[in-house]
Symmetry: C2
Subunit: 101 residues, 2 copies
Amino acid sequence: MAAIVHNEVFKALADPTRREILRLLGHGEQSAGQLAERFDMSKPSMSHHFSVLKQADLVQSRREGQQIFYSLNTTVVQDVLTWLWDVFGSRGETQASRDPT
Amino acid sequence: MAAIVHNEVFKALADPTRREILRLLGHGEQSAGQLAERFDMSKPSMSHHFSVLKQADLVQSRREGQQIFYSLNTTVVQDVLTWLWDVFGSRGETQASRDPT
DNA sequence: CAGATAATTAGACAGTTATCTAAATATCTA
DNA sequence: TAGATATTTAGATAACTGTCTAATTATCTG
């Protein structure tokens, strides 16, 4: 049940643009173009952010014709929540197994 | 209830050393020296990490004689949990208040 | 006060990251 | 196949970050 959270996940969350992308994807999947037009940033830069999120396994992608649709991968974020809860949430309670990073 | 999480908080969590510091502080407050001797890293480097954590308001410090004791600031992490939950936690369930945009 | 201890600040440096423009790849349609 | 559209890849660069050593500050004690 360890819920290992790789460093990539935290690094991916460290950028405000990427967090905003995740928040938008919270409304449902969107194409790269749809996402990109919401930001004042070049498309290659946006593509870079998609890549980081994908590498962290925070999002999934699917091609449909010329477009690529991104969506949240909620299970990984469950792991982040678990990590945070493990460190901060159980203050003063029984110390179960603890997972390094 | 918005639970604004500053960028500093996520940037602070992006480093594995800092996450380990937080984890250790989960057992209770510790002095800078006690924490530092757990890591294969110079004391100034550790001090830098303490500073980042403090700036993010993830930890608090208190001086006792020559030593400075650090402890978790759990309320800020509650905000992180809330942010994550807001984005990822309620997928597919009853749609409570969700941030517009 | 002088010396010891605990911790931080200052400054330098290597590695990483976010961003851009230009070029390439993939797909659709006429 | 040629052209249009959607997206990524390549390469460059400025800014940021983590680390170190050396120096400084703060506190305690004889």
